[in-house]
Symmetry: C2
Subunit: 309 residues, 2 copies
Amino acid sequence: MSLLVVGSVALDTVETPFGRAKDVLGGSAIHFSASASLFTPVQLVGVVGDDYPLDKLRFLEDRGVDLAGLARAAGESFRWSGIYRYDMSTAETLETRLGVFADFKPHIPASFRSAEHVLLANIDPVLQLEVLDQVSSPRFVACDTMNFWIDGKRDELLQLLTRVDLLFANDAEVRQLSRETNLVRAARWVQRQGPNCVVIKKGEHGAVLFTPESVFFMPGYPLEEVFDPTGAGDCFAGGFMGYLARAGEITEAELRRAMVYGSAMGSFAVERFSLERLRDLTLGEIDDRVRRFRMMTEFEIPVSADVGG
Amino acid sequence: MSLLVVGSVALDTVETPFGRAKDVLGGSAIHFSASASLFTPVQLVGVVGDDYPLDKLRFLEDRGVDLAGLARAAGESFRWSGIYRYDMSTAETLETRLGVFADFKPHIPASFRSAEHVLLANIDPVLQLEVLDQVSSPRFVACDTMNFWIDGKRDELLQLLTRVDLLFANDAEVRQLSRETNLVRAARWVQRQGPNCVVIKKGEHGAVLFTPESVFFMPGYPLEEVFDPTGAGDCFAGGFMGYLARAGEITEAELRRAMVYGSAMGSFAVERFSLERLRDLTLGEIDDRVRRFRMMTEFEIPVSADVGG
């Protein structure tokens, strides 16, 4: 089924303890698409400047990413550079140059307007709302956000939440948004604003899905080496939404499986710089990692579940 | 089967956003025993001063905690006071008065020396080693430790590790001990020092068990209210070791179940001050929570585990 993503398309310069990558493919829409396209065709909406190496996006087109919504504007592409130091859990931003992204006005091509699944990546909530005004009747809409919008465009963000089915946020964001330190109460608060579901991403500690009926946990994959965490959250969302779009049904069981595929994709993303690990990733490798996630979490309880007496 | 614990017996004064409890039962051996005794009889070794309200330990004796190893010394009992502020994840210590605990020399009564399961709670590793010299042939020995000993008695701690089957530690401790920031590498490092198994406790993020064969994750239980985290780690260890002693066999499957029962007990512990929640806890409530842990982590993968193609 059709999956639309609207977000940033960037060139990243990333330094980690393992090395440095200059002007590599980045941006939320790119990371998301590279991940989701392993499951389902993707329609991408974003903007690049006239300096963007479009030929490097060929491999995404080859696996079903439709770039009809990728606008070209005169000027410089969005550039981000950051450094991960010893602990690899948070990046220190060295420079952000918005370039043509500063004036981004998402225009959804006619051929994308009937998209059934939509991911509004982390952009101004005003723009996220404008995207929703352009799609006719999506079945499942998810959004991402960040501290900058929670601070600066809280009202618009709350308005957006009334129109989405799922919010992706990290633990700090969901606490900031809800003004609750307890994550369970924070998630329940978000659900009362509109979204049926909340996915809280906790980096190396995994992710939690809150639905109206239940809470579901996936641990982080136990990697001995985290090479470059940039875009891991977008790859998680890509695996989640890509799996869900492919599955078709939105059920509790499918949402749980989406969490597992999202976690798998997030874990692959960090193994190399930029999109390198996702480029040649096979479905067999993904399925193998999904089975490992199951081995890491499964246990049997005694039939009576009664150890006492 | 017999389960021996050696550790502190204290009086705690705890302040949280929900209230204050003065001179309540505390100490690692007490929290551990209150938890483990729901599964199996416990033999406790520790020391109290002549001011300790021994009658308050009656409920532990009533459920099978043998206090024959609880020495009475002239002087003041170990007292700790601390405060949890807004986020409840770490206590700020206001005062520590070791009292008679400063001169604690564990003497294992003859009737305890054939204990098959041993938990060396967080005390000086020199004393932990002396305990092991007094038990004849334990089947399974686990130990806990803290930053103070990792800093100050590293060599003795490393010597202890060659003689234990399992280390309980939180994420900061295992990083400090191994000098590795990556938790997987940190756990593998610990395993190379001796223990087959490492349990890394991550507070609200759950716990991870590393065995020679696998990695197993349990999430933290999603509580809307954490009332008092004091002793949660000891209650976790109590559920873990109590379950394991009762199960008898030390297999991968039993170790996983021990993780689940440990997680359940840790989650109950934080719901009230001190031991209040554990006092009247029933096996039915424990089994119910274990089933909830399963519901929070279970998922089905497609038979072929293949979503692509």
